[in-house]
Every structure is written in C-alpha cells, then in structure tokens.
Symmetry: C2
Subunit: 436 residues, 2 copies
C-alpha cells in the first residue's frame, strides 16, 4: 500500500478526465428529479444485465489477489458474490426512492417590494471517492452521487480494478441510456492517478474516503479539498453509580461485541467507583465468554480485570474484541477522561438520574451523546436518513452520520425588478424581510 | 505588516490562555438564553460607563499611529469616534434581540419504541478572530460569540492595542457581573502570539478573519482550523440582449459605485454584443461623471471604452472605482467567462427573459446568483439575518453571507431505555423512524 501514500501533481490525462466530469456534473445538476430516478433505474438494469461479466471480472481479481498473497480480510472484502451484487443493485433502486435532496427551498423571503430571496439546495459538483477493496462502494457511492445531481470520480484499490471497471461500465451504460453524459461517473485505475486526485481542488468539491484510519488521516492531511469522514472512532460508555446495572451490562456488551470493527463500537468503559466492583463481578465472566480481552487501570485490575492498561490504551481504537476499563471517582472524572481521549464520534452514559444524564450529554462535545442505549445506533440508516455518505467527527456541520444532505449545498437566488442598494441608503426604499 | 506573516508554535503562555478560554466556553455553552442576553446588556453598560477611557485609549493609539506614518485609510479605520462607539454599543444590544441560535431542535425522531433522537444546535466552542485596525470588530464579534454561547480569542492589529484592551476590559467586566467566566473573551496583544493562534487547532474551532484579501488567503493556507470568510470578491454583472437597458445601467452603476471597496461590488461588466453599443453610449458618460475608470476588451474599446484590458484585469478585485468591460457573443460566452474568473461570491444578470435568467442562475456556481438587482444586496443584514459573521465563498455550507448560524453547530442526542442494536438484528425490535 506504500505507493498509495504519494501525492503527485495531476497529469494532463487526469486533468482532462476531471474536466469531463466537471462538465457532466454541470449537466446532471440541471436535471429534474424524475430524470435522475430514471437514470438510477437504468443503472440497476445494466448491472443486472451485466451480472455475468461483473462476477467473472471479480473472480479474476480474486484469483490474482490470492496469488499475490493478499490478506484474508482483504480477500473477503474484495469478493463480490452474486448476493452482494444483487443487494447492491437493490440498494441503487432504494436510493431512487429517497426524496429529492436537490431544489429544496430552505429560505424564501421578501427583502423589499419586488425583491425576493430564495435559498435552495443544489448539488455540490464533483465528489471524489477514494476507497479500498470493497467493490460494493462503487455502486453505493455512484448512486448517491447521481441521486443528488453530482458527478463522481472514483479511485478504488488496484486489486479490484477489473471488478470496478465492469461495474462502472454498466453504470455508465445506464447514464447513457437515460440521455445523460456518462462521464458523470469516472473511474481512475492508473497507479499514477491514484493520489493525484488530492491535488484536483479546482475540479473536486468534496472527498469521501472509505478505508483504514491511516488512509483517511493521510487524505485529511494532504488535500485542500474538504474531506467528509473520520479517522478514529474512540467511543466511550460511562456507567454511573445510579445506573441500572443489568441495562448497563447489556448495553456495554452490545456496544462492544455487536460489531467490534465498526467505528461506533466502544473502546473504553468508564465505571463509577461505587458500582465498579459489583458490575465487574457480573461483567467479567460474560465478557470472557464472548472472547473480549479486558484491559484495565490499576483499580479495575484490583477488581479482577486481567491485563493492565498503559497510556496508549486510552487512545487506541482496537476495532477488535478488546476493551479498556477505567474506574473513575465521579461524573466529572469520566467527563474529563472523555474530553481528553474521545475522537468526538459517540459517547454514552448509563444512568437512571436524568440530571446526571443531561449534564453528561450537554458537556461532552461529540457528534453523538447517548443516554441508556448502545453506541452502535450512531449510523445514518438507524437514524432514519435512508443512506449514509459518511460519519463526520469534525465540530462544524455536517457532523455525525451524514445522509444525502452531505452531497448537496445551497445557493442564494435573488430576483428583483431593478432594485438598487442606493435607494435604501437614500430612504426611497426599505426592507420588509417578510418570510414567504 | 511583514511580521504578521509568520506562524510560530504557540508558547506555554498562549496555550494556558487558550485553555482558559476553552473552559470558559464550556461554561457559557451551558447557559440559558436569558443569561446570555443579560451578559450582553451588561457588556453594553460597561462600554457606556467606560466611554471616556476607551476614547482616550483610542486617541493615544491614533497619535502613535500618526507618528509612525501609517496610511490615511488605516488611520481612518483605526479612529473610534464617540458616535462609532455608541453605534457599536447599540449593536450589542441588538444582538441580544436576535433569536437564540442555540438549543434549536432541528430533528426529533422516534427511532424505535423508547428510543428518541434529537438533533439540537449547540455552540461551536471557541472562535478565533483575526482582524486589522477597526476596533469596532471587537464589540461586534464578541457580542455575536457570547450570544451564541461561544468563547472568543481576538487578535487585532497592534496599532489598535490600547483601544482593544480598553474595549475588552469593559466587555469582560460585563461578563463578570453577569456571573460568567470573563475568560470567554480573550484578547491577544503580544507580537509573538499574533499568528501562533493559527496553530491552536486543539483549542479553536473556527477562525474568522477580518481584513485584507492577502491576510485571509494567508490564514486559509496556514491553518488546519476551518476558516469562515473569503479572500477575493470578483463579482460580475451580465447585461443580456433582452435587458431593460435603463434598469441595466442603474443596477450596473449601483453595483459598482455604491461602495466600491465592498466585496459585493462588481469588478466586471459583461455586455451582450447586440446591446453593447447602445448601452455604452449612455453608460460611458455616466460612469465618467462618477469617476469610474473603464477598462475594456478590444470590442469594448472600439465602442468607446478608454483603456484596454489585459488578462490580469479579468482576475483583479479592484476594490476601487475601476470597472472592466467585456463584450460577449451570447449567454454561453458570459457564463464561460464567469465560470473561469468568478470568485464564486455573487454574479448577476439583467434580462427580461425569465428562461435566460433561470439558465444563468442555475448554471453559475456562486454563493449568490442575482437577477435584475444590484450585487450589493449580497449581505447578511440585507438578507434579513440580523447579523453577519462573514461571507463564505466556499462551495460547502455555510455559504454566502452567514449570520449567527455560522457560530453554532449541532449534535445528536439519543435517549433510550436500554436499547441495543442486537435486538434489531435478531428481529426482537424494529425501527419506527417516526418524526415527532
């Protein structure tokens, strides 16, 4: 993967491609809702029609990757089964069913007689997507981009090149049949283009990275293009002394073991000292029987946790069946710990005391603050967004799980009948500021 | 000003100050609306009480700056007259009258039985403001930051140091009397701290630069902190062949001469070839009599424009009574020119043809697209926001003139009664996604 971590200047080929996507994105930005839905349906149709070629291409990618000795985890992500493809196609049709994110009127206001301001949602322009292995990302991201009237430049892992080419080929056929410029979906496959797209700030309006923390961090630090995503997901759960301990254990287990590789799984459990002993007495055997390795601070180890934590543990996203446990004196110590180590993704509290819960939720500055439920709910689909383009841990919006709204922006349309500012200085005209 | 363009690492003093502001911002982020309004009123009271000291400090700054031979323009911005101070104080009270930007519920949704999601607006945290000369910025920005529950770190031009110290002193007294940590407003005056705040990404959540294009560009390129603002404001006005030419001239004049130093003034006028001659016959004498220097492309010069434009002119923000004029064959040529040279601030069209107007407004990718009105309306107050924290020319939100909403973000609050994700995989629970 070392080769991925270079940012060369884009060559003329790439600049030309990027300009084609830009032009195609201008076209698609002007399309009606039904036109875009039709394009999605045709994209699905072509994927269905081309199922055989796509699966064969994936088979070939898989064989080559196997020969190269690629890791099992990567191989399993690379594999596109018939079912996975089918569910990807189904996913595209579902995206068609989401309500139109474009042309939504957010503000409509008469500024003065004959002068009307509208703020409407518009596509962002061109989305750049950098992802590793998983070819399903091609279908998902392309459909979200087209749904929202954007162009998209895709750069996948080279081990999935043949699959990605076959997928994009089908998607482009769909666009073409819908009467749209097929360049709205562009796949980069050449090694030298790989990271050069990070320098395409004149062509790409948003980068969405899908991959390892390392990849995301690298991208964030090496581009002037806004990046939607997050590197670490270091989530905490604090069990207060006024917690329902049965609920606490159930939520802690779910938050850790339901899908440990997810970014919304917890890495650290904070236990109020008054309940630490009785909680751990019950919890340790259950975590053990679920193969969770427990690592604790000194007090937790005294209460039976097997391994002792070092400083590094509190800032590590294990993405695995490993959980660090710290005993704290009170709510404030829990808050201080979280403020220091949280990656601002999602942090939760278990307590029956609503005052304690509110204090925790108000003071913790994370995208999600949860009370008496699993951190695993932090997800665009579970939030009811119908789609998720990424989860952002930055402070400014969009924050947390981001749905289609992350692929649109807005612009101000002002229509007048010759209005000039000087008339307002001279008193000839005045502002009404009446919402319509 | 050369000294301002260095970005040293923050020293311990600065880190300590920044941490004090962070703590104070946490406190103020938890306050009720009325508490923040009271703080604003007390801040105004103290400014009133301290009027004499403030004006004396400003007098001293002015005298020192004069001695140093500072430019007249800078001197006039530095000057804080009794009236300017009074209107600044009035401004703070008005900010108190704006509706609370914090704790606004944006989403309220039952995800499943007993599991309720809320998305609420919350303060951003700490705002960093870097401004030149104008001491009125201290009052304006501080009051907006406190109104929205944020802390603020101010760095003004050193020539206004005494004034700024006197102003911040009064503002802090107001905070203090309101029972708030006065560190929520912090002024940096030492030369070595000046630009080091650009490296305070762990403490500052947003930078708002107020100053020259050069300063803004430098800040944008030298900090990892998000920057709200814009460097250039290269705005265009296109006069279509179907324009009402009387209206066109009136709007063009207003867009250029009403306040030429403003970012929303036009720099370039594009004329459809069919109306160029008759328009210029009327326009040239009027622009001349308003001391506007006209610079044109070849065709415009042939039609009487005095000076010939070079490539540089199309990408220059004159901020002065200078206007470049280009004759274009049609709408598309106008659009292409704007796409190439616009700084994406505000671009307008004058036409009686609504189809032409809509095409222009849809295709031009600028924060503001205007039809039959002056570009000078691109302004937070004129849009009815009650306040303006900056104008953003980036594609992603916030875009265009930004009111108080630019100083808040949001966070997701999820409250359950022990809900776990595993129950949804197992079929024991299901999502309702019911908006409440």
């Amino acid at each position: 993967m070392a080769n991925i971590f270079e940012v060369p200047q884009p060559g003329n080929d790439l600049l030309e491609k990027a300009d084609q996507v830009r032009l195609a994105s201008l076209e698609i930005s002007q399309t009606e809702n039904l036109h875009r839905i039709r394009a999605l349906n045709l994209m699905s149709d072509y994927l269905e029609k081309n199922t055989k070629e796509i699966l064969e291409a994936n088979n070939e990618d898989y064989k080559r990757a196997e020969k190269k000795g690629i890791s099992k985890a990567l191989l399993s992500r690379l594999k596109l089964s018939k079912e996975k493809l089918k569910s990807g196609i189904e996913g595209i049709r579902k995206v068609g069913g989401l309500s139109d994110p474009v042309n939504q009127i957010q503000v409509k206001r008469e500024l003065s007689k004959g002068l009307v301001l509208e703020r409407k949602s518009v596509p962002i322009g061109v989305i750049g997507v950098i992802f590793e292995s998983r070819p399903d990302a091609v279908m998902q991201i392309s459909s979200l981009a087209i749904r929202s009237g954007n162009g998209v430049i895709l750069k996948g892992g080279s081990e999935a090149n043949l699959t990605n080419i076959a997928l994009v080929n089908a998607l482009q056929n769909g666009l073409d049949e819908a009467g749209l410029d097929k360049n709205a979906i562009c796949l980069l496959t050449s090694r030298k283009d790989s990271m050069a797209m990070l320098n395409l700030e004149k062509y790409i309006n948003l980068i969405i990275p899908r991959g390892s923390n390392e990849l995301v961090k690298f991208i964030q630090e090496n581009t002037k293009i806004p990046v939607l995503g997050h590197a670490d997901g270091i989530c905490h759960l604090f069990i207060d002394n006024e917690a329902n301990l049965e609920m606490a254990l159930s939520v802690a287990l779910d938050s850790k073991i339901q899908y440990p590789a997810a970014c919304n799984s917890i890495e650290t459990l904070l236990l109020h000292k008054d309940i630490a002993q009785v909680f751990l007495e019950n919890a340790i055997p259950i975590f053990n029987s679920n193969d969770v390795k427990l690592i604790g601070d000194k007090r937790a180890v005294e209460l039976g946790v097997q391994f002792e934590a070092n400083f590094e543990d509190w800032q590590t996203e294990y993405l695995d069946l490993i959980l660090s446990i710290k005993v704290v004196d009170n709510l404030n110590e829990a808050i201080t710990h979280i403020q220091k180590f949280s990656s601002k993704h999602t942090d939760g509290i278990i307590t029956e005391n609503p005052v304690t819960a509110n204090k925790f939720m108000n003071v913790i500055d994370s995208a999600g603050v949860f009370h008496n439920c699993s951190t695993r709910f932090a997800d665009g689909f579970r939030y009811g967004f119908g789609a998720e383009v990424g989860i952002s841990t930055q402070t400014l919006p969009p924050r947390g799980p981001v749905g289609l709204e992350g692929l649109v922006t807005y612009k101000y349309f002002l229509k007048g009948d010759g209005n000039i500012v000087n008339d307002f200085s001279s008193g000839k005209a005045s502002f009404t500021h009446k919402d319509l």
